[in-house]
Symmetry: C2
Subunit: 311 residues, 2 copies
C-alpha cells in the first residue's frame, strides 16, 4: 500500500484523507488481517512474512546495493532500535519535526531519510554541545517510538543511482537517460525552458541561475544534492555540459567557477534547485522500489519541501 | 584618493567616469606630482614614501592586526609577486574576471580580495587537476601583471572585525554596535522591516528567509560570509537571537536546524543574504581604512556583486 504525497498544496488534505482511511481500516480490523499468516498463505517467504523489524527492512534494501554493507557509511540508525517491529514506513529527504509528527499520525514508526537528522553529516549529537533542539527532537522521537535510518550512501550506490533515477522519472527524462548517468542529452531547448520544466515537474517555486536564459541546451549534467565544488567543477571541466543542475553549492567554489568560466567564453550555465527539493523525487521513488519487496507494510512518502521563503 | 563603487546600476558609468578622470589627471601629470618627494615634504615617512611594493602594503596592513603574522592563514599572494611596484589598489570580495579587467582599465595592478581566486579555500590550483578556467585566469592576470592578495583571516581578526564593521556601517547600524560584535540589539522592528532594510541598504535583490515575516526582532546575530553550520548553530543556541543573518549556509546544517528549532517553539528566524553581497561592504570599508595609511596610492572598491539570477 503506497500513497506518495508530493510537494503540492494538496499534500495536507491527502495526508488527512490517508490518515482517515487508515484509521477506518484499523478500526474495522482490516489492517490486522493483512498481518495474519493464513491470509497471505501461498505467497512466497518474503511476502508471507508476518512482521518486519527495522533491521529486516535495512537488510532487504542492502541486498540490492552493490558492495553493501560498506565499512564506512553515514547510513546508520539515528533513532529507535534495529529490532523494533515496523508498523509503517515513511520516506523523506529530511526527518523534520513536521515529518516526524505526520509519521506518528500515520502510525508509521520507521522513517527512512536521505539526509541527516541532527544537522551535521555524521549526525554527531555533540557537534554543538548541549544543543537543545537536538534534545527536544530526540524526546519527540522517543515519545513516538520512531526509528530513523539514513539511506544516503547506499541509495546513491544503487545502480541506477536511486536519487538521480527518481529525479529523472519525475522530470520525465528517463527516456533520455534510463540508467541515470550524471551526463546525458535531451532534445534542444532554451535554458529558460529547462528552468520552467524543472520548476513545474519538481514543484519548485524559485531557483538560482547563472547563465543566459536564451541559450540553447541539450547536454545536461545532473548532480542533485550537495556533491561539493570539487566534483561539480571536475565534472564540468571534463564534460563541458550546456547546463550543470545541482541541489546546493558552496558559493565560493562552484558559483564563482561558473561565473568566471562564462566570462572566459564557456557556455555552461548553472541551475541551483535547492538541496531538499533536488533529491526529494529519489525518496518518493523509493516507495515504489521498496513496496514491491514488502507489500505488507504501508510505505508513504512525505516531502520535507524547501525550508525557504524568498523575499 | 578613493572612489567606492557600490553594487548599484550606476557602478558601470561611475567606473567609466572614474577611469576618465584618472586618465585625464595622468595625462596632465597631476598623478605623477603626488609621488614626487618634494610635493609631500613635511609629511611623515609613511606618507612621503614614493613607491610601495605589494609586500609594503601587506606589511602596513599587518601592523594593525592583533597577533599578525599568523603561522597558518589563507591570506597569501595568489598572483604576481611581493616585490612588484603598486600602481593602484582594487578591493573586492571576489577577484572575478570582470573585476580583473576593470582593475586593468584603472591601471591598478594590485587586487585585495576577501575570498579565493581559484575556487577553493586554499587556492590550490590543482584542486581540480588540469582546470582550464584556472589556467585562463592565470594567463589574464599574468598578461595584465596583476597581483592578488587575499585579505580574509586578518581582516576578520582586526578589532573591530573589518567585514562586520563595514556591513554595520553600510546598514547604518553602527550606533547600535560600534565594536562590531556578532550579537547586538536594534530598536524593535518586524522581520519584514529588517529584510527590506537590508535589501535596500546592502543593494540585494532577493534573499532567502526561514521565519515569520511579522515577528518582532531586536536581538540580531550577524555573521556575514560562510562561517559553517557549527558556528552558526552554536551561536544561535547560546544567544537565542530573534534573527540570525548570514551570507551562506549548508542547507542540511543551519537551514534544517532553524526549521526544526522553529517547529519546536524557537523564535529565531534566518536570513541568508548571499555570500558575496553579505561581506562586500567590509571590502568597501577597507578603502577608507587603508587609504589613510597610503594616501599616494589610488584605492578603488569594485563590488563583485551576486553571481545569481533568480527565476
Amino acid at each position: 500500500m503506497s500513497i506518495s504525497l508530493t510537494n503540492e498544496n494538496t499534500s495536507a488534505s491527502l495526508l488527512e484523507r490517508r490518515s482517515f482511511v487508515f484509521t477506518a481500516l484499523k478500526a474495522a480490523g482490516v489492517y490486522a488481517l493483512l498481518t495474519v499468516p493464513g491470509v497471505s498463505k501461498g505467497h512466497n517467504e518474503s511476502t508471507a512474512r508476518k512482521e518486519y523489524t527495522v533491521q529486516d527492512i535495512i537488510d532487504l534494501i542492502l541486498k540490492e546495493i552493490p558492495g553493501a554493507p560498506f565499512k564506512e557509511t553515514v547510513d546508520t540508525i539515528k533513532s529507535g532500535s534495529a529490532d523494533q517491529k515496523v508498523t509503517g514506513i515513511v520516506t523523506t529527504m529530511f526527518a523534520t519535526i513536521e515529518v516526524i509528527k505526520q509519521a506518528a499520525q500515520l502510525n508509521a514508526n520507521f522513517i527512512i531519510a536521505h539526509e541527516p537528522t541532527f544537522y551535521n553529516h555524521t549526525d554527531d549529537i555533540n557537534w554543538v554541545p548541549g544543543n537543545e533542539v537536538v534534545k527536544k527532537k530526540q524526546e519527540l522521537l522517543s515519545k513516538n517510538n520512531i526509528a530513523i535510518w539514513r539511506f544516503h550512501d547506499y541509495w546513491h550506490a544503487h545502480r541506477p543511482d536511486g536519487i538521480t533515477y527518481g529525479v529523472l522519472k519525475k522530470a520525465n527524462w528517463l527516456e533520455y537517460n534510463s540508467t541515470a548517468e550524471p551526463v546525458f542529452k535531451i532534445p534542444v531547448v532554451t535554458l529558460k525552458e529547462i528552468i520552467h520544466h524543472l520548476k513545474s515537474s519538481l514543484s519548485i517555486d524559485h531557483l538560482r541561475v547563472i547563465g543566459d536564459l536564451s541559450q540553447s541546451c541539450e547536454r545536461i549534467a545532473l548532480l542533485p544534492g550537495a556533491w561539493g565544488g570539487q566534483r561539480q567543477i571536475a565534472l564540468t571541466e571534463k564534460e563541458q555540459p550546456n547546463v550543470l543542475i545541482v541541489g546546493e553549492v558552496h558559493e565560493w567554489e562552484t558559483a564563482e567557477y561558473i561565473r568566471d568560466a562564462r566570462l572566459l567564453g564557456s557556455k555552461t550555465s548553472l541551475i541551483i534547485l535547492g538541496h531538499s527539493v533536488s533529491e526529494e523525487p529519489g525518496m518518493e521513488y523509493l516507495v515504489e522500489w521498496l513496496q514491491a519487496k514488502v507489500p505488507q507494510i504501508k510505505i508513504t512518502h512525505i516531502a520535507s519541501k524547501s525550508p525557504f521563503t524568498l523575499v
